[in-house]
Each structure stands twice: as structure tokens, then as C-alpha cells.
């Protein structure tokens, strides 16, 4: 008998819709739980023999967000901050109760610590940018070399500032201007700027790896961060074939940090070295799939079906 297939996502996620259309094409039943609208009933039983949960026997694709376990009336409660915190260990247990058949991970998304990832990448032999995390200018100046450029980006969370009538959100990378750095500051990650020949975006899910080359260097707007899109003449994005040794290291890396799906950013330097930048456990792949005509949606549907039918 087929296993139940649960898909956790957001209401308006286009990639989810695309995958579901393929599941429908293959006539496979599924249950979609939208984290922004549906409450999910669940249960965890712990005993001396074993721990069983509502998802231990299912195939789960956690595409976006996390299962909402709170009743609607509590979502506006002033206790919401506390209740959400209490929810996280539950989510972690649900995910861990079924590691082989739980694809994607909100826990990873939440705890996506760039420091751990950099260490893991270095451990498997991937090149990484020289990195420092500090809260004072003296240590920073001892670290930097003259005539080199340095960048800073967030450690885990995207910067977010909420004001009465507006908010500021940033998720990019900026070049450090040492003249503006104060003596003491909040703990910050600073990395050597890596010259790029091209940027490589890799999406992976289970054993399927898809790579795309982004030619961001012909355009001043996108040199530091390709997310500063140029809509008139978009960066060239084309299929890329990772050579076997780099691909093997990437596979070792994702298995070391225990991630079974996500997006990885690499840089190919003018000296033809691949440098690991970061991994996003719930990264978008639509852009990569469309640009390279990869049909990732269809492949995801097929690998879910394989699990539903044969596991």
C-alpha cells in the first residue's frame, strides 16, 4: 500500500503548485498543509519501546515554513511569542521521527548558522573565504590585510527592523567601509571578498543536484550581490556541470550537516577555484529550473512518488 504524502508549504508558493500538478498527472494522492492557513493536528507518543508521531509513517516534503500546530484563536494571543517557542522542539521531534522520509527541514532553516556551515564546508575540503566574527575594531583590523576588500552579511537571520509605520528588511551582502566601523559593535561576520569569474547556484533534493552558472560580473549592479537584479538585461544564467571532485565534496558537506534539500551558493574564482559561500535549506529553485530548463518540479514529484510507492 502507498504511504501518505504530506506537503507542507505556503498558500501562494508557485513551485509547490507545479509539483502538485505533476503528482496529479501521475494520479498520486497527497495532502497539502499550508502553513499560513491550515492548522495541522498531530500527536507524539513516547514510550520505552519507541517514539511514534503523526508523521512517522508518512512521506513529508517540507517545502516552505513549518506546520502550524496552534489553534487559530491563539495565533493572536499575547502569549504567541512564548507559544511559538514551545512549538519548536515539537517540530524538531516530528522531523527527527522520520529522518529518511522527511524531505526539507524547517529546523535547519531556523538554525541555519553560517558559522557551523563554514566549518563543515572547510572540513570536507571545500574552499571558504577567510572569515572572522568579532565585536571590536581592533580584532577586525588585526585580521584584515591592506588593499583587500571585505564584506559582511548576517550570521543566521536576515536583518529586520520594524517601525511604527514601516519596516526595513535586508538580506544581502555589503562591502565593509572600515572608516565607518566603530570601536565596538554587535557580533558581526566579516569575510574576505572573493573575486568572481561566475557564481554557481546549486539546488539539491535527496541525491539530485542541479547547478546553474550566474554571470554576474559583466554588470556593475550585480557584482557584489546578484540579488540586485538588473531587469532590463538580466545576468546570463545557464546550466553548469560540477566536476566530480567538487560535487563529491558538496555531497559530503550536505550529509555532514544533515540536510537533504536546499540551495548552495559557490563562487568560481578567476583562478578556477570553487569557494563555498552559504547554504539555504529552503531556497527557491524555480528560477534555476526555468533558466536551465531542468524540470525540477517534475523530478521532485517523481522522487516523492518513488518514496510513496516503494518505501
Amino acid at each position: 500500500m502507498n504511504k501518505n504524502l504530506i506537503i507542507i508549504s505556503e498558500r501562494n508558493d508557485k513551485s509547490t503548485n507545479n509539483v502538485l500538478e505533476w503528482l496529479d498527472y501521475y494520479d498520486i494522492d497527497f495532502e497539502r498543509k499550508n502553513v499560513d492557513s491550515d492548522r495541522s493536528d498531530f500527536c507524539i507518543r513516547i514510550s520505552t519501546q519507541e517514539t511514534t508521531t503523526s508523521v512517522s509513517d508518512c512521506i513529508v516534503w517540507n517545502r516552505r515554513g513549518y506546520m502550524s500546530l496552534l489553534p487559530t484563536h491563539l495565533k493572536k494571543s499575547e502569549w504567541i511569542g512564548y507559544l511559538k517557542k514551545e512549538q519548536f522542539p515539537v517540530l524538531a521531534t516530528l522531523e527527527k521521527s522520520n529522518p529518511k522520509n522527511y524531505i526539507g527541514s524547517y529546523v535547519h532553516e531556523l538554525e541555519n548558522n553560517k558559522l557551523n556551515n563554514l566549518q563543515a564546508a572547510a572540513k570536507v575540503g571545500l574552499e571558504i573565504p577567510k572569515t572572522i566574527v568579532t565585536n571590536n575594531k581592533q580584532d577586525l583590523l588585526n585580521f584584515v590585510e591592506v588593499n583587500k576588500k571585505y564584506i559582511t552579511k548576517s550570521l543566521v537571520y536576515s536583518p529586520f527592523l520594524e517601525k511604527k509605520d514601516c519596516y526595513y528588511k535586508g538580506n544581502g551582502t555589503i562591502v565593509v567601509d572600515f572608516e565607518k566601523v566603530s570601536e565596538y559593535f554587535a557580533p558581526s561576520l566579516i569575510q574576505e571578498y572573493i573575486d568572481k569569474e561566475i557564481e554557481i547556484r546549486i539546488f539539491f533534493i535527496l541525491d539530485n543536484f542541479y547547478a546553474m552558472a550566474i554571470f554576474s560580473q559583466n554588470d556593475l549592479k550585480t557584482q557584489i550581490d546578484f540579488r540586485n537584479y538588473n531587469d532590463v538585461s538580466p545576468n546570463r544564467c545557464v546550466p553548469f556541470e560540477l566536476e566530480a571532485t567538487t560535487l563529491a565534496k558538496i555531497k559530503e558537506f550536505v550529509s555532514l550537516i544533515g540536510c537533504n534539500s536546499g540551495s548552495i551558493d559557490l563562487i568560481l574564482t578567476p583562478e578556477n577555484k570553487f569557494v563555498f559561500l552559504e547554504i539555504n535549506p529552503m531556497g527557491q529553485y524555480h528560477w534555476l529550473s526555468e533558466s536551465c530548463n531542468y524540470y525540477v518540479d517534475k523530478h521532485i514529484a517523481e522522487l516523492l512518488i518513488e518514496k510513496v510507492v516503494y518505501e
Binding site: 500538478e21 505533476w22 496529479d24 498527472y25 552558472a213 554571470f215 559583466n218 538585461s233 538580466p234 546570463r236 544564467c237 545557464v238 546550466p239 553548469f240 556541470e241 560540477l242 566536476e243 578556477n272 526555468e290 533558466s291 536551465c292 530548463n293 531542468y294 524540470y295 517534475k298
Partner: protein, 358 residues
Amino acid sequence: MSSIKKIKLFANCIPVKGAERSLICDLQRNRFDFIPNDLCEILILHEGKSTTEIKYIYKNLYDEIIDEYIDFLLEKEYVFFTHHPNWFPKMGLQWQDPFRINNAIIDVGENFEFEKILFELDSLKCKAVEFRFYDQKAIKIVNDILNYLQLKKSIISSVGFVLHYSEETTEHILNAIISNNSRVAYFVITNSPKNNFIKSLSNNVGYIIYTKDVVNDATHCGLITNMSLVINTKLFTESQHHNTCLNRKISIDKNGNIKNCPSMTESFGNIKDTTLEEALNHPNFKKYWHITKDQIEVCKDCEFRHICTDCRAYTENPEDQYSKPLKCGYDPYTNEWEEWSTNPLKQEAIEYYRLQGK
């Protein structure tokens, strides 16, 4: 050896060779450029080699021309140089779609039962539908259709309307419909006093085209001009495997006959007594779906063949399903666009289809 960089096309810039000249189709930026056939040959045969190697292959007789070509390709960002050409594979040209039918044309006639038709299209999961009206009382039906789709939460997510110009088709009225219905992709208003294009009010909603073209029945369709070319990955890849007009299409003409296209004669039953599903399962229903431009006479020599939407309803030789679209005025052997309807060689077919004066 590897210190010399090799030339490589960006994988979404694809050369297409024609009889007398070629195109580079830029599927990412949705544009194309004409290139001479000898440059097309260089790109097809010698991509992945260095400039020096390529010049040597041509016995160093054309060094200056080759330099000019490469300057052009670099300036347009069609190529780059790399030490590792094998890291940059060609883009796969597969085309796949999860729906058995993905577009429909419905001509609205006198006994139009829209609920029945929409119900069946919904069961087939057909996401894009175009409705064409040939008389002036249309807006009420347009609203009925849209209300029904909303009420039923239909999978039909993109609806286009072709209407006659009337006092009901003002920009104000149409935009009011568009802003209430995210399903509306476009209005095309024919028989208009002037041509006009009204942009979408915001992203993801419909636009309006007013056109002076006179449209009184399905015989207006099938026109191929340099304005109807479509440059994107979807059409380019579909064109490698399928017919770019009829693949996954179902139509109903104004008399209720279920067809591949309302302009064609072959009917697979009438909607009164045949379901769309039954018509789709008819052994002949899909016979045009696999006719590609590479198989069609003349088109197979045309540089525009993979950015063209084809027409199988009106062909130069009505007896031959591999014959060139009648209403295409382009000649790939002279590279000239001419008026199709006055071409003396097409008069017999024009008479056959009774297209005189249309």
C-alpha cells in the same frame, strides 16, 4: 593548451540555421539577431574551440571576419570565453507539461451553453481558455463566465476574450472587469475604430488590445507575420517536439463542433452529445500534435521555425498536412516578407478555403 580560453555560447542563446541566413534566438532575453550562415556554421561546428583554432580551421583566410563576428557576439553577450567549455553543457531541449490539454479556443455561437463547456474544460484541467465572440452582445456572457469560474474555484486560471468593438467595450468597463477578476489575461477588441494597446494596471492582470482588424468568423486566424514571433524557452522547446499551434489544444466552433481548431473542418462530435473527453480520445484527435516545423515544407528551411506559432488550418496545399501555412508571407529563400493574400501561387488555396476578401 588549457591556458587559451575557448569560445562558448550561453546555453540559452541558440543558433537556428535557415536557407539563406540564420538566427541567434536569445531565449533568456526574449530577442533574436540575424547572423550569416557561415557564422552559424562556426558556432555549431566549432563551439568550444579557441579563436586561434577556429581561424586555423579556416586556413587563416578569414581572420578579420572571424574577429568581427566574435566582437559582435561578445557585445550582444551571446558568447563568453572559458578554460573549461565542458563545464557548460547545452541546455536540454525537452518540453513537458502535466496537462493533457493546456489551452482551448471556444467560439461563442447562438446556443452557447457556457456552464457545460466550462465544467468539461475544468474536468480536463485546461488552465488557459480563449473565448471569441462574433457579435456585439458579449459583456453579459463575459461576466457570467467569470462569475461561474470564481464560484466553482475553477482550475481555469487564464482567460482571454476576443470581442467586437461596441459601446460595451470601453477601457473603463473592461478594466473594471479585469480588476475584479485575476483570471482575465487579455481582451482583444476587434473591428475597432483605431489601434490601441492598454497596459495591465498591475502585474498579473490582463491587458487590452484594440485593433482595426475586422473579424467576423474563424477564418481570420492563422496569420503569421514578423509581429507574431515568440522568443522564449517554452515555445522553442515545444517546437522541437510538437506542433506549436495545435499541441494540447481543444476547440469548439460556433456551431458547437469539437475540433483541433475552430478554423478546421474535421469535427470530433458536437458538444450537444459528445464530451470533450470523448473527442480527445478519438484516434485522430492528436494527429497534428507531433507535426513539427522541422517536418513542414519550406518551414524546415526557415530561420524563424522555432519561434513561430504555425497554422495547420490553412496551408498552401490543402491536401498536404506537411505544407507551409497559407497565411505566412515569408520566403526563407529570399528573406522577404510579402503580403500572402495577393501571392499568385496561393490563389488556388485561398479559393479552396473561401478566404477571398477576408
